[in-house]
Amino acid sequence: MNATIPAPIRPPAPPGTSAQPYWNPYAVGALLGLVLLASYLVAGRGLGATGAFSSVAAWIANAISPEHALANPVHARYLASGSPLTAWLVFLLIGAFAGAALSGWLAGRTRLTIEKGPRLSGGQRLATAAGGGIVAGIGAKIAMGCTSGQALTGGSILNVGSLVFMGSVFAAAYAAAWILRKEWL
């Protein structure tokens, strides 16, 4: 693979074998759709990721200054006395971490590395990842959801706002992909 990528911390597969290929995208999509459906059937709501970040951010703010956190209308929504839904999404992401870890491990894909375009150094890539994360976090808050909570979850129930969100995301990302093509190509 790429010589600049750090060596694996532990060989994911026996020497001479390589990581397994990804599953067929349509098959994985159907599996993901069934997980989403199961979430609707048992919990009455779909999947989500942004809410977990909002909860953690509110907890951090609360740890620094409870008065300040409760006075902030955004943080306060995620601190509302023991609201189980906010913690629900944190547990969902803990489960997602475990599920992805097991999948990657079984397929021999787990290793310490940096995913980047060929022109970027590792340090540059960490900067774009962090910067992009900040922008995505702000965007997800404005949109009241992200690719999980809006696009997937809302899309499957034909939520109009979610479908508009999805169109906006892809429009902006395709435009940015052309302008910033040196980051990935």
Binding site: Y26, L31, L32, L34, L36, Y40, L41, V42, A43, G44, G46, L47, F53, V56, A57, A96, F97, A98, G99, A100, A101, G104, R109, E115, K116, G122, L126, A129, A130, G132, G133, I134, V135, A136, G137, I138, K141, I142, A143, M144, G145, T147, A151, L152, G155, S156, I157, L158, V160, G161, S162, V164, F165, A172, A173, A175, A176, L180, W184, L185
Partner: protein
């Protein structure tokens, strides 16, 4: 009658255990699709690997068909499911900002968790950035938050908006998926040369 949450009062522990279980399936599927890799995710924006659209679209169609069939069979009450209120301004502005963050950062919030779980350091950087962005939004942009919430016009779904029942949309989306699948196969062949080495 489903959803279970409408008829059964689960204990807090059972509820959170359920969240972990559902999340496990969520994360497992994301990683199996290759979405723990920023290169795989951003490939969709250069047309040489359309897996992101294939996975998302087939997941949406699968869940939509399931919701429709179960509600038609009378075992699921769609009215009991949570639908996020629509704010057109929030969806458009937030979507545009999020799209730029997705391309530059290489992940979305959920997939960055899958990246971390398989050792991708850029996944950790994105995750930290995302947390910072959400924190900054709460501290500096609570006015925007209030504006978006005020601009929300309620729970609007396409069937309610158009009067066309959900079953027709399931058929329509299956049709679009088949057509898009053929188009994506052609696009992947045409743009195969854009795939970076390594």
């Amino acid at each position: 009658m489903l959803p279970l949450s409408s008829t059964l009062e689960l204990s807090q522990a059972a509820n959170l255990g359920l969240a972990v279980l559902l999340g496990f399936g969520f994360g497992f599927a994301l990683e199996r699709a290759g979405f723990g890799s920023a290169r795989k995710l951003t490939a969709v924006f250069y047309f040489y690997d359309m897996a992101v659209v294939k996975v998302m679209f087939s997941a949406i169609v699968t869940a939509m068909a399931g919701l429709f069939l179960l509600s038609t069979a009378g075992v699921l009450d769609l009215a009991e499911l949570y639908v996020e209120p629509t704010s057109y301004a929030g969806a458009i502005v937030g979507g545009l900002v999020f799209g730029v963050g997705f391309l530059v950062g290489g992940y979305c919030p959920g997939t960055s968790v899958a990246a971390c779980a398989t050792g991708r350091l850029d996944g950790f950087a994105f995750l930290a950035g995302m947390l910072g962005g959400v924190y900054l939004f709460a501290e500096l942009l609570s006015g925007v938050d209030a504006w978006v919430r005020e601009s929300a016009v309620g729970e609007i779904t396409l069937p309610a908006l158009t009067g066309l029942s959900m079953g027709w949309y399931v058929l329509l989306f299956i049709g679009i998926l088949v057509a898009a699948g053929l188009a994506m196969r052609a696009a992947e062949r045409r743009f195969a040369g854009l795939r970076p080495p390594g």
